[in-house]
Amino acid sequence: MLGNDVDTDQIIPAEHLVYSLSDPEEKKNYGKFALSGVPGDQAGLPKGNVPFTEGENFESKYSIVVGGKNFGCGSSREHAPACMEIAGVKAVIAQSYARIFYRNSVDGGFFIPFECDTRLVEDIKTGDDLKIDLTENTLTNKTQDKTYDLKSLGEVIEIIEAGNIFEYARKTGMIAS
């Protein structure tokens, strides 16, 4: 659980942008430092000071990240959604996104960026057991037995279903398959 305006410097501080995103070993650094720039009191709400990945681990035990408004604001660095995927994130749920982060998440096929009109930050606690139902477009908090509607993925669903922008372009005949 994170708050509003989680920017890309919080998601992956610039000093770490030097690692290769294609080398299987080197890119683990991105998982290790994913969300490491989030100020302590904001990391893992409501208590805070919850590390996203621990010690030398590059994988997080949290596969769903929930944020508030304007998630991913700031830089166009694709290392931001990439580091979250490397850490094992499968979905992000936010009230709204900054547009480049949203676009990078979809076009690069890193994870599904869901939007939810309900402000979840006060409701869900870090560590709650969450389930996303893709057919019903709902989020269920199994720990608290509450269900929320997610917004339709709308026009980007075709890219998400294809896997990424390249697969989408191949499917639609824009680039040769």
């Binding site: 610039a14 000093e15 942008l17 166009s76 660095r77 709204s96 690069g108 390249f166």
Partner: protein
């Protein structure tokens, strides 16, 4: 229905007579820019998707400007420059500005302008969110990630959702001590860091059109800090004069129609503007300088794509001439051209570089430097709980290198005035 400049440019590049906000269209790309942080990832995706031996769609439209992590001993960062070199060699790319050569430029957004890649009416994408800077030339420009950049490298096209436009009109004349930085910080403070999300920020009015190209670039540069997709200013004689000094390439000037539809039109009186800072830790945390004069500072930083242009240093030098700074003050020209101009430009016979040296400021080499923190040995990188006044663009937690640091964003005038006193200071009394 009339169209805005942004809509007209996008329509023309999609082969359509008109487009409307919300349309998803494929546009032809005139220029793709990348740098040392995002180039290596972009090239890896390009090769994976289009083949090891694939060629870029148009060698002449690819511009590679290393600028982020340049003067560092970090081995990974230096390895990334080697990856740029290798790709440039494989692809035989003409527009590469290599580190350690006479051809090195520095910060990509100003280098694009200085090397003639910013041309009215064109579509430019870059793997950097401040690519919005180029919109000052009446062109569509925005930041993208590695995947989209790799897609362009292979196809020369990208899908774009046509943004709604917001109109910010400034009538009258900005007072002498007001800079474009005050104007953009004021607007971001008004609409918030997500106030322009998915939208174009179009700047209009007498006061805007009286600004130099560099000042116009500052306005468009920080569109992203309000979440904007692009910033744009219609091209006029000031624009075409600048462009013609830099390139013979053709361009096309577009104007917004009288009946173009805007998300909103907001009019400001330029004469009433006051110096503005963004307080920690968000660019929309606006305050008048006059409300923050009790803030004690540890250092001042003047540099970056936002605040490291010649105009920015002329302003700072005007205030620092013949005086001593009271806090550590870092001067980082955005590009080599700016650095050379610091030697050439004089105020009452003294070069800007001498003015800075004699004031006790530290001089760095052209690059992004501490604007985004960077490797530990980066010039001017913030440490501990320092309080910094900076002409850069972001004051997110940790942005300049230390999560505990407090960064105030300000104009070069305000940063220089504050460097002279050691606390946030209104430049009005100095200008």
């Amino acid at each position: 229905m009339g169209m805005t400049i942004t809509e007209k440019i996008l329509a023309a590049h999609a082969g359509k007579t008109s487009v409307a906000p919300g349309d998803n269209i494929w546009v032809d790309v005139d220029v793709l820019m990348t740098h040392d942080v995002c180039g290596p990832g972009t090239f890896a995706i390009f090769k994976k998707q289009f083949g090891e031996n694939a060629k870029v769609w148009d060698r002449d439209k690819v511009v590679i400007i290393p600028d982020h992590f340049i003067f560092t001993k970090d081995t990974h960062a230096n390895r990334n420059i080697d990856i740029l070199r290798q790709f440039v060699k494989e692809q035989d790319l003409p527009h590469y500005y290599d580190v350690g050569t006479d051809n090195y430029k520095g910060v990509c957004h100003l280098a694009l302008a200085q090397e003639g890649f910013n041309r009215p009416g064109e579509v430019l994408f870059g793997t950097d969110s401040h690519t919005s800077t180029s919109g000052a030339f009446g062109m569509f420009s925005t930041g993208i990630g590695n995947t989209d950049a790799a897609f362009i490298l292979g196809t020369g096209k990208l899908w774009v959702k046509v943004p709604e436009s917001m109109c910010f009109e400034f009538t009258g004349t900005f007072p002498d001590h007001i800079m474009a930085k005050d104007v953009i910080l004021n607007v971001i403070g008004d609409i918030g860091v997500d106030g322009a999300t998915y939208r174009a920020m179009e700047w209009r009015g007498d006061a805007v059109m009286k600004l130099s190209m560099e000042e116009r670039m500052t306005l468009c540069n920080m569109a992203i800090e309000a979440g904007g997709k692009n910033g744009i200013i219609e091209a006029d004689e000031v624009t075409t004069d600048y462009v013609r000094q830099r390139t013979d390439a053709p361009y096309k000037v577009y104007h917004s129609d009288e009946d173009a539809k805007y998300f909103f039109k907001r009019t400001y009186n330029a004469d009433e503007m006051e110096p503005i800072v963004a307080k920690p830790h968000s660019p929309d945390n606006k305050a008048k300088v006059s409300e923050c004069e009790d803030v004690r500072l540890d250092r001042a930083y003047i540099g970056s794509c936002t605040g490291g242009k010649l105009t920015d240093f002329m302003a700072a030098a005007k205030l620092l001439k013949g005086k001593k700074v009271q806090i550590d003050t870092f001067i980082v020209p955005a590009t080599r051209e700016v650095e050379e101009d610091l030697h050439k430009e004089k105020i009452d016979g003294e070069s800007l570089i001498d003015i800075f040296k004699n004031s006790g400021a530290y001089l760095g080499e052209p690059s992004c430097a501490a604007c985004l923190g960077g490797p530990k040995d980066t010039f001017g990188r913030a440490s501990d709980n320092q309080v910094v006044i900076s002409t850069t663009n972001r004051n997110f937690p940790g942005r300049m290198g230390s999560k505990q640091a407090h960064v105030y964003l300000a104009s070069p005038y305000t940063a220089a005035a504050s460097a002279l006193t050691g606390h946030i200071t209104n430049p009005a009394e100095f200008v």
